[in-house]
Subunit: 210 residues, 2 copies
């Protein structure tokens, strides 16, 4: 592996490979060539080989890739081979939907749910009790939290993100429809759902105009 | 505007500009230079100018961009200046969270909700009644549906997507954790939430190793 930082575009494709290889494995498929992988996923065989070559040698000339091995190696690169802990702040509809997600499938363990609404306190989702958001400092001091999920309203998000950074959180999975102002010590993954809807609108209209 | 197809990378940045300009407008900011826009959003001024030049001339040398005008032009490019209709298939936690989304803010109107669970029929969310998924063909024949949202379990998604294509749907906003096998007549926006979590895991670990 070279010391050069890997492009975020490559990093963003790794979860797609990971999920796709999981589907192949479920179907009992043991090996696959970069060409077949490209045909099924879109893109070219050479792009796939280039992407994976960033991290080492996974394939064999004339044999292709071992599906389970490649998937497990990609999991290691993504860091999801080791259990990481996650909390969710904001347990409205979206927060509750996220709380029901099968985090174990990507190596995460949900350990905390937080809300400002007293009517939700003590409600248990996916085995985890909803706590007052005021108890966050105490909770984070007592528990190792790898990732904090922000599912709060847009108006509360920037302030909450800063508070999380002050509390020592270094990774935020952001569902609030705004950009966060945190320092570069904090990794942020913005899940702006409406971005997908807007790009879909663009592509749909382009397709119709053909 | 050139006839060359615009890169999907540029298209994906448009919603970020759109949202960001909306935030500036809310703050009463009337104009902004590409340099300031770059500083606030990350990236470089020249990238922003290049992105926007794909679609025409929006800025003025020495003046910068008019925030509201640029936002409205980006909205036109994205096709969200005209009302588009959207339905949601699958009204579990995630589907219900999506149903509560403020679609109007991106030019969409929610007109249908569908589920297989009879206990959910007639429940009204955001002013829209949940109907049996069996009534989809009739509904789509009677109503112009621009976008279908897939919030069904992974195991049902591929089949449902094909059915939607057969019914004439040409845009799918896909939240099921699988790729869809539809023809290229159908525009698909994959909202694989766990992709964001996996890339976050990677960046978080890289940051920690520094």
């Amino acid at each position: 592996m070279s010391d050069k930082p890997i492009s975020q575009l490559v990093i963003k494709r790794l979860p797609i490979y990971y999920r796709y290889l999981g589907e192949l494995s479920e179907k009992g498929i043991e090996r696959i060539s970069s060409k077949e992988l490209a045909q099924r996923m879109g893109g070219t065989a050479s792009q796939i080989r280039q992407d994976l070559n960033n991290f080492g040698e996974f394939g064999q000339q004339g044999y292709g890739y071992n599906v389970d091995y490649l998937r497990s190696e990609i999991g290691k690169i993504l860091g999801i081979d080791r259990e990481q802990t996650i909390i969710i702040i904001g347990t409205g509809n979206l927060g509750q939907a996220l709380a029901n997600y099968d985090f174990g499938s990507v190596g995460f363990k949900l350990i905390g749910l937080f809300d400002v609404n007293p009517r939700l306190y003590n409600l248990v989702i996916n085995g985890v009790e909803i706590l007052p958001v005021d108890s966050l400092p105490e909770f984070i001091a007592a528990n190792k939290v790898d990732v904090a999920t922000l599912a709060v309203p847009r108006s509360r998000a920037k302030e909450m993100a800063k508070e999380l950074e002050d509390l020592g959180i270094r990774a935020i999975w952001n569902f609030a429809l705004t950009e966060l102002d945190v320092s570069d010590r904090v990794s942020v993954s913005n899940m702006h759902l409406d971005d997908g809807l807007m790009t879909l609108s663009y592509n749909y209209r382009q397709n119709q105009d053909k």
